[in-house]
Symmetry: D2
Subunit: 344 residues, 4 copies
Amino acid sequence: MSTMRTVKVVGYHEGLQMREAPVPEATGPWDVVVRIGGAGVCRTDLHILEGQWAEKSQVQLPYTIGHENAGWVHAVGSAVTNVKEGDKVILHPLVTCGLCRACRSGDDVHCENSRFPGIDSDGGYADYLLTSARSVVRIDDSLEPADVAALADAGLTAYHAAAKAAKRLTPRDTCVVIGAGGLGHIGIQVLKALTPSRIVVVDRNPAALELARSIGADVGVVADGSQVDQVLALTGGKGAEALIDFVGEGGATSEGIAMLREAGDYYVVGYGEDICVPTIDMVSNEINIIGNLVGSYNDLQDLMALAARGAVTLHTQKYALDDFQQAISDLDAGKVRGRAILVP
Amino acid sequence: MSTMRTVKVVGYHEGLQMREAPVPEATGPWDVVVRIGGAGVCRTDLHILEGQWAEKSQVQLPYTIGHENAGWVHAVGSAVTNVKEGDKVILHPLVTCGLCRACRSGDDVHCENSRFPGIDSDGGYADYLLTSARSVVRIDDSLEPADVAALADAGLTAYHAAAKAAKRLTPRDTCVVIGAGGLGHIGIQVLKALTPSRIVVVDRNPAALELARSIGADVGVVADGSQVDQVLALTGGKGAEALIDFVGEGGATSEGIAMLREAGDYYVVGYGEDICVPTIDMVSNEINIIGNLVGSYNDLQDLMALAARGAVTLHTQKYALDDFQQAISDLDAGKVRGRAILVP
Amino acid sequence: MSTMRTVKVVGYHEGLQMREAPVPEATGPWDVVVRIGGAGVCRTDLHILEGQWAEKSQVQLPYTIGHENAGWVHAVGSAVTNVKEGDKVILHPLVTCGLCRACRSGDDVHCENSRFPGIDSDGGYADYLLTSARSVVRIDDSLEPADVAALADAGLTAYHAAAKAAKRLTPRDTCVVIGAGGLGHIGIQVLKALTPSRIVVVDRNPAALELARSIGADVGVVADGSQVDQVLALTGGKGAEALIDFVGEGGATSEGIAMLREAGDYYVVGYGEDICVPTIDMVSNEINIIGNLVGSYNDLQDLMALAARGAVTLHTQKYALDDFQQAISDLDAGKVRGRAILVP
Amino acid sequence: MSTMRTVKVVGYHEGLQMREAPVPEATGPWDVVVRIGGAGVCRTDLHILEGQWAEKSQVQLPYTIGHENAGWVHAVGSAVTNVKEGDKVILHPLVTCGLCRACRSGDDVHCENSRFPGIDSDGGYADYLLTSARSVVRIDDSLEPADVAALADAGLTAYHAAAKAAKRLTPRDTCVVIGAGGLGHIGIQVLKALTPSRIVVVDRNPAALELARSIGADVGVVADGSQVDQVLALTGGKGAEALIDFVGEGGATSEGIAMLREAGDYYVVGYGEDICVPTIDMVSNEINIIGNLVGSYNDLQDLMALAARGAVTLHTQKYALDDFQQAISDLDAGKVRGRAILVP
Ligand SMILES: [Zn+2]
Ligand SMILES: [Zn+2]
Ligand SMILES: [Zn+2]
Ligand SMILES: [Zn+2]
Ligand SMILES: [Zn+2]
Ligand SMILES: [Zn+2]
Ligand SMILES: [Zn+2]
Ligand SMILES: [Zn+2]
Ligand SMILES: [Zn+2]
Ligand SMILES: [Zn+2]
C-alpha cells in the first residue's frame, strides 16, 4: 500500500495540517481514483475551518478538505465504462446514487443519497482522491486540470443559473447580472455563449464592470445608488426580462426585484439576506423568484464543452500543495486574483 | 338612442345608485356591445366602494361597476369576425390592444394599453356593456351566461395558476392546494381535469374539505396547526412538488414553503401578507416562487371548454339587477353561498 | 446451487423447450434477481421464433425468452438501495448503463450500452430472472405482478407516446388515436388520465370502438373509408392538433396525416409501411412527424402510478409456466383476449 | 388623390408592366400605408409570372407584385398605436386578423383569415403599399429599409427554423445545415447568435462553405457523395442532434435523415422532393421530422433585433424601381449576387 500527502482539518478554529495517508483504491465497481492535478481553494474552505459546516456535514475529524477538483484517472472499478486510466477529468462536486428519482431524471444535484467530498468526506487537497464514475467528466486535451478545477463549484453554479435563464431569453430581451465577481464573471461568459439577449451588469466596482464588458457584457451599470433607475432607463421604464443575482445581500434582492419587468424572472444565486416581497406584488407583477443550486452532471459536461472552445475562462493563481497554508492565508487576506489553486 | 339601466358608483363610502344611461353603440371597428345575461358581484366591488381602487384606477365618478360579465352579443363593429349578433359570450376582464409585445405573444394580461371595464370604465351592472372583439369568448349552447359570469375573474385566475402548475405535474407528484374557498374550488376542479397528480387540499374548515373531496381532491388536510407535518407525512417527509396558495395571508406563505420539496414550485395567488424567505433557503432547496395574475384570453377559452363539458361548475345565487343593493349587502354580510350574480 | 425451470429458444422455426438451469445469483453490485410473478407472451416472441430478430440481437442459442416481466425481488447486489428482498416489482425491458449521456439525462431508452433480457440475453419465461437495480420499479401493494407484467412493453410504449402528446394538448384540442387494439387501449386510458383534450378513436372494428368509449374515448370513428372526412367534420374542417398512430400500416400514415390540422403533431408508434410526405406539405402545413420508442424508466414509474389508482388496466389470460406452448399457440391462433401471461 | 408607380402582373407568361395607380389611403382603423424603401426580387416572383401561384392565390390580374418589403410609414389608421408617420419599418409578409386562435397565441402565421400582399393582393413593387398595424415592425435607426427588405421572407423563414432548433441545442450538440445558399446563409448567422452548439454546414460548393465559415460555421463539409459519412465521422458515428435542411430536393432528405442521431430532429425548410421514411426507422431511432413555414411577427421582431446589432447581414444588389425588368432578368439568369432589391 502506497501513501500520499493530504491536507486535513484536524480541529475547528485551528490550522490545516499535512498528513500522510494511504492512496485510496478502487475497490467498489464504480469507484474512480483520481490523481489530483488542481484543487481549488474556496471561501467555503475558510467557513469549514470556522466550524460553520460542522453540524450540517457531520464530518468526523480529521478529514481531507477540498471540493473543487480535477486531475487524471489513476484507477477505476470493475464496472466503470466512461473513463479509463490516464483520462483528464474534472469532478462534479457530488457523488450521487444513480438510483433515486432525481438521479434518474438527470437532476442529480437533488440526489437523496449523495456524499460531498471535501465537505463530508475526504476531498482533494491531496495527491489522490476517491470518487465515482458518476462524478467524473472527461475534459478536452487542450485543457489543464489546474486551470479548470475551480469551475467545478462556483463555475458550475453560475452555469446552472445562466443556462436556466437562457431558456427564455430572446434577442429582444435584457438580462441583468448583479455582481461581476467570481461567479458573475463565469455567468456573463455563459450568457454570452448561450443567449442573444442584451447583458447588463451591475456592480459597485468600475474596474469589475470594465472586465465584464471585455468578456461579453453589453452595458455596465455602476451601483452608486441609482442602479435601479439606470436599469429602468435602459429598458424603457419596463425593467428586465431576467435578472441573475450573484450577490444576494446588502439590499441586492429588493433592488433586483425593482429592476424586473412584469412577468420577469429573478434568479437567486448569491445568498445572505432574506427576500421579502409583498404577495400583492408577486401577483400584480406576476414575477417569478427562482432558486439555484450548483449545476448537474450534465451542466458540468456542457460547461466543459464551452471551456474547451475557450468560451469560458478563469483567472487562477497557483500554489504547490505543500504551500496550502499560504494559499489559505492569501485568500483570507483578499490577496488572490481570480481563484487560488493547489497543485500537488 | 335607446336607454338602459346602469348601477353606478356615485361616491366612495356611499351606496350604489341605479341611473338611466344610453345603450352603448358599436362605433369603433372592433367594438362589441353585449346584452348582459349575468354580472358577478365580487368582493372587489366592496373594496371599490370603500375607495381602495380610486387612486390606482383613476376612474371618474359616476361610473358603472361590475367586472365579471357574460351575455349575448347585441351589436358588433365593422371589423369583428369572431362573434356575431346573438352569440352567447363571456367577457375577458381586460380590453387589450392587440399590438404590444405581450398581446402579440398571447400573454395579453400584460398588455401595455388595456382598460378594465367595471374598474376603470363602465362595467356590467347594467343592461348592456361596451367591450371589444378581443375580449369576447363564445360559450357553448349548454351554458347560460348567468351561470358562468363569475368564472371571468376568480375562476380565470384559478385556471391560470392551476394550468401553469399542471405543466410539470406527473402521476407521481403531489399538488397541495391551500384554501378550498371560491378560487380553490375552481382550482381543484381544473387540476383534476388537467393533471394526473395527487391533489391534497388544506383548509381550516372541515366542511370545505368535504366539498373539495367531492369535486376531485384526493386528500383533505385540516389546518389545525399540524398541517405542515401532515403534508410532509403524506409525502414521505419530502414535501410536495407543487403548491398553489389561494390564501396568501395569516401565515399561509411560510407554511406553504415549508410544505415544498426540493426543487418544488410555490404558486402565489391569494395575497395579503409578505413572503419572506432566506436567500440561503431559496438556494439550498432550489425552490421557485411563482406569481400569478388573472388568466389570458386563451386561458378563458380553455376554461370555457372545461365548463362546456361540466368539468368546472360554480354555485351561484341570483338576484334581479334591480336588487343590486340586496346582493351587495348579502355579500358583505357573508350570506352568499357560492357567487352572487345580478341578472338584468 | 439451486435450479429452476426456464423456457428456451433452442432453434429458429422450432418449438420452445423447457430446460432446467441454475437460479441466477446477484454477484454484481447492482444485480437484482427477480422471482417471476408473470411474464407476458408477446407477438414479438413469435417473431423471435421465426428468426426475425436473430441478426439484430446476435443472441446465442439456447437462451430464455420473455421480455415483459414482473415479480418479487429475490436477491440484490451490494450496492442496491432502491429495492430489497420481497419487494413487488415490474421490470423495465432494458438493462441500461447509467453512465452514458442518454442515461444521465433520464432518456435511458437511448442508452449506448444496454442489454435487452428476453431478446439478447436470458428473459422471463422462467422461475427467476437476473436484472439490474436500474430496471426494477416497485409496484403498489394493490397490484399483482401477473396483472401488470404486460404493461412493461406495449403499455410502456403507449404511455410514452401519449405522455409526449399530452404536453401540448389543451381542453380545446382534439387528439385522434388510430387503432383501438392492445396499444391503443392503453393509450386511450393514459390520454384520459393526462389530458383534458377530446379523444377521437378510429378503428375498423365497431366493438373495439365501443370498448374505447367505455375507457375514456369521447368519439369513435369507424374506419370504413370515410374516416378522414369524419375526423375533419368533427374538427370544423381543420383537423386534429395531435394524432397517435398505433397502426402504421395499411394506409394509416397517409390517412393520419390528412387528419392533422396546420401545425399538428403526428406520433408514429405502430410500424409497417413507409411514411411518404411531400416536403412542400411538411412546410406549408408546418406539421411534425414524431417517432416513438418504448418509454423510459421514469415513464414506467409514472405508468405504475396510474395503474396503482386503477386509471390503467389490462385484460389478461393466464397460463401456468408449464403451459407455455399452449399460450404461444393460442396467441398465434388469435385466441387470446387481452394479453397472455405465463405464471410460474 | 395622388398617384404612384406600380409594377403589375398583367398576365401569366408575360412581362411585368409599370402602371400608374392611386396612392393607397389608410381608411381602415388598423391600416398602415408604407412608402417603400426597398422591395426584394424573389424567385417566387418568377414562379408567379409562370402562373404557378394562380390557382392557389386566386389573385385577380392585374395586380402589383412584391412580397418582401420595407420602408417608412406614410399614413396610419385611427386605431394604430405601434407606429407613427415617418417610422422606419419592415413588413411581415402576412396581414393577419388578430382574432383567430392562431393569432391570439402568437402563432399568426397560421391565421385563419390572412392576406398575402404581393401574392394575393397588391404588393411592394411600387412607391407605396397598404398593410396593417399588425404587420409592421419598426427597425433600428442604424438599418436601411433597402438593406433588410429581403429578410422579410427568406430570412424570416431561416430565422424561424433556426430558432426552433436552438431551443434544444446545447454546447455539446451538433447542428447540421444542409445548403449554404440564401436561406442557409441567414440560418447559419442565426444559429451562431442563438446557440452554443457546433455548426456543420454541408454544400456542394466549396466557395459557399468558405463563406459559411466566415459567418460562423464551425465545419464545412463538401457534398461530394461522402457527406453522410463525413457527418457521422464528425459525430463519433452517432449523427447530429439537429439538422436544418434548406435544400429539400436532390436526395437531401434521405441523406439528412441518415445524418441524424437517435432522437434527433430534422427540420424541413427547403422543398421539392418527397420525404419517405420507413415507420420502423421513425420508431427505432425515435427521430422527429419538423415542418417549418415562414416565421411569426414575433420572429421578425427578434430577427430585426439581431440585424440591429449586426449579427445578421445580407448581401444585396440594388436596382431602381424603373429597372424592375433588369432585376427580374438578372435573377432569372443567375446574375444576382445576394438578393436583388428594387428601390423606388
Ligand atoms: Zn467552492
Ligand atoms: Zn440519487
Ligand atoms: Zn437546478
Ligand atoms: Zn371579481
Ligand atoms: Zn396590448
Ligand atoms: Zn412485447
Ligand atoms: Zn447508458
Ligand atoms: Zn420571397
Ligand atoms: Zn388570425
Ligand atoms: Zn411555426
